[in-house]
Amino acid sequence: MTFPTVSRGGPGYPPLLTELHDPPARLYLRGGPPKILARTSVAIVGARSCSPYGVQVARELARELAGAGVVVVSGLARGVDGEAHRGALAAGGLTVAVLGCGIDRDYPKAHAELARRISESGLVVSEYPPGVEPSPWRFPARNRLVAGLATATVVVEARRRSGALITADFALELGRDVFAVPGEITSGLSEGTNDLIRQGATPLLGAADVLEALGIEPEPPVIVPTSLSPEAENVWSALRAGAMTLDEISRTAGIGAAEVAVALTELELAGLVVGADGIYRARTPPPGRGPPPYGA
């Protein structure tokens, strides 16, 4: 099986990539037309073992950005990377996965199906010819392409020595915008991102921040439908104060567990609440505030 390529200096080679000090001689492609690489794009990267918070933020952010027509670039890894791709696909948008192995490989294996879906509309790219095995030293090189392909880079969750920070470093070297998603100061998974903010990265409070930096008109924010039942209204306002378990909602809102379950389903179907590991969160963080911490 042969894969199309674009060569440095040739047609279709992404112009942003030439700003790297060592741009790859050629890129192998799998999927859509190479001109996708020339569109405005944002890299969303982060920890492989991320928390439900990271999953939610990565997915939502990718969905909103892709919905606004931005290409989402990431590295096909587990965790934040995978969620970013999924979010973009869910919005019917375009996404680009950069591999750290041969173009014919799917690494990690569990994301083979995801890679297939990405290549249906978007692109899977690699600087390595078919047959190259994934190895640890190739991933930093892959991160340089992720940063190089994107106009801006968002780090969702990263530990202190995470590979996502390498991507952020490349982006900074290139003089591109770097956003970091603030997290709890007690969470090791947010140490890297919070540190980026201290160093001067822009704290990301919503997709609108990125769109504004890119000069794209942001979509109007989520408006709570007026047709919510009184119980759902009650539960929704309780959840806006912070993530909670069902039992805690029941106590805060003063309604029984069965009624809370009914209200939560209504809110979930309306797209206002997500639940993971038994903890429910309001979907859009209220403006001007960080994400609601569990246990406030």
């Binding site: 073992s49 587990r78 965790g79 569990a110 805690e248 029984g256 379950a261 389903t265 979930e268 179907l269």
Partner: protein, 484 residues
Amino acid sequence: MLARAVTHALVGLEARPVEVEAHLQRGVPAFAIVGLPDKACQEAKERVRSGITSAELEWPLRRITVNLAPAGLRKEGSGYDLPIALAVLAASHQIPPESLQGHAAVGELGLDGRLRPVPGAIVAAEAARRAGLPRLLCPLESAPEAALAGIEAVPLRHLAEAGAFLRGRFRPDAVQPATARSNGAAPDLADVRGQERGRRALEIVAAGRHNLLLAGPPGTGKTMLARRLPALLPPLSLDQALEVTRIHSVVGVLSAAHPLVDRPPFRAPHHTASAAAVVGGGPGPRPGEVSLAHHGVLLLDELPEFHRPVLEALRQPLEDGVVAVVRVGGQAIFPARFVLVGTMNLCPCGARGDPAVECTCSPQRLAAYGRKLSRALLDRFDLVVHMPRPRGRELDSTPGEASAAVRDRVEPAAERLRERRPRLGTEARELLVRAVDTLPLSGRGRARVARVAATVAALADAETIDAQHVAEALSYRAPPELTT
């Protein structure tokens, strides 16, 4: 000289009649048992010899051959001791040979001639009744159990008593079949503080007999909650109780004090259990934990820790309500209709879902953990409930509702589900359509949600399933992190 006694061999949950023939011949004194006895049965020789001597009867100094007919059927266990001893005594005219007619016998002998109970007395008694035998000679401890079969159980403490009874010199007290309600104190739901979500789920599970999966970090009360499910189920009917008693008797786990199992049984095998122990098996097939939990609750604590073959083997009983064990020696079918409750952590280290600790699991370990539970097995759980760590304030709250109060709601709901199952209303149908479109919900998932919604409606004493019943049922669907 030849004499015969009748006993029964256990084959699965059935008992087949076995004729015990004892033949005494002149010759060098010897004692042989033929007719496919297993090791325990072969060792009856020593127990019978000592037992007869201890009963101050005479051990005939002859060449003794005992045949267990039909000779092709494997004989297992020590229950043949009493019939062998009686046949030998009859052949040597120490008891009248004709007195053995109309009696079946079962029991193990001690070296001092005492009789010990053996498993399966109720099954043997039922077979004896079917064969038209009016009386069963059995150990004292087994008598109340045997009497449940509607046969006259003759309770015996010692081989000497058996001899005296057959010579007409001893009349033991009549035995009443065990009917007294075994009010063994099952753990009560009042002990659980907080956990409103878990309690509600338990109520739905009890009313609709759904399978339940409890997921959450360790120490959040998953097991504590699961153990309180049997107390919410209605007591067994007499037929059900006899069915369960039979299984428990064959396996030998019947309590001597309360031989009739009339409360829904609760079984919680350890996660190291083998497939044969859980679903049944062995050379002469024995019922496993799933059958011991028949009409009751099977708790698999730490579900992902169970061996994969064990979990996969559960699929047949969950689907059909029976286990078919096929062995070279024959096939046995054991009933196994139970409510399955599984508990699991959200990750191997257990910290996920607990805000106080950080999960240290690598993505690979996490993925491997998820893979242990197959889609097919997860699909059998109608309700999946997360049990996050309760806050201190919650544990300080007042005790919750007691089991009896919940049972008062469960019983009418179960009744309604049996008689007139609530039907899906228009709004409920629309909500389901919307849910399938919006949420990750498969066709099978939809059917599960509809089933749970019917139970929720029945608990609300509604004739049709409304949107709110479906909405609540939807909240118990398997979350995507467990299904991908």
